[in-house]
């Protein structure tokens, strides 16, 4: 009844049963990067597994609030199979949507990420969404450099 706004059922489902989450260290990934929000203590590690120019698979590890965990879990599903270039663009779009730079663009969120849209109404929580996406962008950069 309450909390309908922010905690959509899909989001809660991802929080309760996160996809592609590791309990221990992420192994054999092409690149692993970590993001931390010192303000609330959340920490997310993202590992990417590449195949040619595509993201084959993503794993994450870490702790955080429901939005943080759900965003990471959704991320692993949203980008699996995308091209590296396409993923990079998606990372940028997420940054612009949730950083309030492109407010109008929210409607263009891929289906699997729609449940996050409500977070845009809560500026204080935007960083919770973006933590994993920033780590993903860093991981792609790292993989590209190696």
């Amino acid at each position: 009844m309450i909390a309908q706004d922010l905690y959509k059922e899909t989001l809660l489902e991802h929080y309760r049963h996160p996809k592609n989450r590791c309990d221990g260290p992420i192994q054999d990934a092409d690149a692993v990067e970590r993001g931390a929000n010192p303000r609330c203590g959340d920490e997310i590690e993202i590992g990417i597994f590449l195949q040619d120019e595509n993201i084959r698979h993503v794993q994450f590890r870490g702790r955080g609030c429901a939005i943080c965990i759900a965003s990471a879990s959704m991320l692993t599903e949203a980008v699996a199979g995308l091209s590296v270039a396409g993923t990079r663009i998606l990372c940028e779009q997420m940054h612009d949507w949730f950083g309030d730079i492109e407010p109008a663009a929210g409607a263009l969120l891929p289906n699997g990420l729609q449940a996050l849209a409500a977070v845009r109404q809560h500026p204080a929580r935007q960083k919770c969404v973006l933590l994993s996406w920033e780590a993903l962008a860093d991981a792609i950069d790292k993989a590209g450099r190696e």
């Binding site: 009844m1 309450i2 909390a3 922010l6 905690y7 929080y15 303000r39 203590g41 609030c65 929580r125």
Partner: protein, 421 residues
């Protein structure tokens, strides 16, 4: 001795409902349902007496301070200085010259760290803070220690969240040049024995700054009794306006302090180019720029308001309410209180849940009209030591009552339903 206003009502206990009516924010149409504000440790709502005193300044007697020769400027100046004297009596200071209006507690502490301590701190000296300091009473000391290659050390805490003074035998050692300590912790609610600590420190000739940001709203302060060298607090946490705070400094200490900011109003004579300038007398020396007269008047109105409620009664009401909240929270499965032993000694209760992130609890509570805080509360060194990165925190004030606790408990239980199904 404080010349505080007498309580208007001499019954033993507070009537929260009556006090609540003094605060327009609770009667507004902006709240869909009753607004359970439990974030007083962050900032407090304002009573009409304070809001009106500020509007009245602007609407009826507004002019520059300390400079104009026309009647309204003289009146404005006199109102400003009257506010200083009200606050002098409020904290039991010997002279109004010991009170400096600052922007905030934060600014007051920065002024002492860079204006008093820095020129005296040498390589290898030690500055002590407690493990439970707010960043505002921590970072200024950390910075000055870095700049002077001195050492910043912690008074650690015991299991039940008290200062571990027994475990800190070097506190009064020779190299100790300063101690900065909070009166009440903004996370644990612990009240520290500042008077004992300051008295001993004075015997060793070590100055102490007391951060009274969290105590001023419910504990009567008396700087003479407390025996501190410096004391800092903000108006906005004691029903006063934002943008103004206070630094108390013993006259002798203030006389030794260099100003953090220079500019109009704090100087007697200004030299050309590199010729020396001469600072004005204390406290003007520390109030560079146009003074915030309406802020000072609102600040004094808040002090009068608090005095009229009576510190004793306010304190008793808040503590008993917070204890009740703690007892009821403890009974919820998965909730853990901080510190892990003992009941709250002031208006603050912090807690975590083994299955819910504090942010999620606070968000759900917020949507149910219960305003609590989640995060590190600007106390990262403390949270790190507790092995946490965030807690939820409820902090009570004089108009809160059991219905606020009911709402809090209900909110936590519905959060459980959402997240722990």
């Amino acid at each position: 001795m404080s010349l505080a206003v007498q309580p208007i009502d001499d019954s033993e206990t507070i009537n929260p409902e009556a006090v609540r009516r003094d605060f327009p924010i609770f009667s507004g149409s902006t709240q869909p349902r009753r607004f359970h504000y439990l974030d007083h440790a962050a900032t407090t709502p304002k009573p009409s007496a304070v809001i009106n005193s500020i509007s009245d300044c602007y609407a009826q007697c507004y002019a520059p301070i300390h400079r104009g020769l026309y009647p309204m400027a003289e009146q404005a100046t006199s109102n400003y200085e009257h506010a200083r004297r009200t606050l002098q009596h409020f904290i039991g200071a010997a002279s109004p010259d010991e009170l400096v209006f600052t922007r905030s507690a934060t600014e007051a502490i920065n002024m002492v760290a860079s204006g008093w301590l820095k020129p005296r701190l040498e390589r290898g000296d030690v500055v002590w803070v407690s493990r439970m300091e707010h960043h505002s009473n921590y970072l200024p000391w950390q910075l000055v220690c870095q700049e002077q290659q001195a050492q910043l050390r912690f008074i650690e805490l015991t299991e039940d969240g008290q200062l571990d003074l027994d475990g800190t035998p070097e506190l009064f050692a020779e190299r100790t040049k300063f101690i900065a300590i909070t009166h009440v912790s903004n996370v644990l609610g612990t009240e520290n024995p500042v008077a004992t600590l300051c008295t001993t420190a004075r015997e060793y000739g070590i100055p102490v700054l007391v951060d009274a940001a969290q105590s001023v709203s419910h504990i009567e302060l008396d700087v003479a009794e407390m025996c501190c060298d410096f004391l800092a607090f903000s108006a906005h946490k004691m029903f006063g306006p934002t943008g103004i705070g206070l630094l108390y400094g013993r006259q002798e200490r203030l006389a030794e302090m260099a100003p953090l900011q220079v500019g109009g109003g704090m100087v007697d004579s200004v030299g050309d180019g590199m010729e020396e300038s001469r600072w004005a007398a204390i406290p003007a020396r520390f109030e560079a720029g146009s003074p915030d007269m309406p802020g000072a008047v609102g600040f004094a109105a808040a002090a009068d308001y608090l005095s009229s409620l009576g510190h004793e009664r306010v304190h008793r009401h808040i503590v008993s309410l917070t204890r009740l909240a703690a007892q009821r929270l403890m009974r919820i499965d998965g909730i853990r209180l901080l510190p892990h032993a003992g009941l709250p000694a002031s208006g603050i209760v912090s807690f975590t849940h083994h299955n819910m992130h504090p942010h999620d609890m606070a968000q759900i509570a917020g949507e149910a009209g219960v305003a609590i805080r989640a995060g590190h509360h600007c106390a990262q060194p403390l949270l790190r030591r507790l092995g946490l990165t965030a807690t939820a925190r409820a902090s009570f004030s004089v108009y809160n009552d059991e219905s606020d606790i009911d709402a809090l408990i209900d909110a936590i239980i519905s959060a459980q339903r959402v997240f722990c199904e």
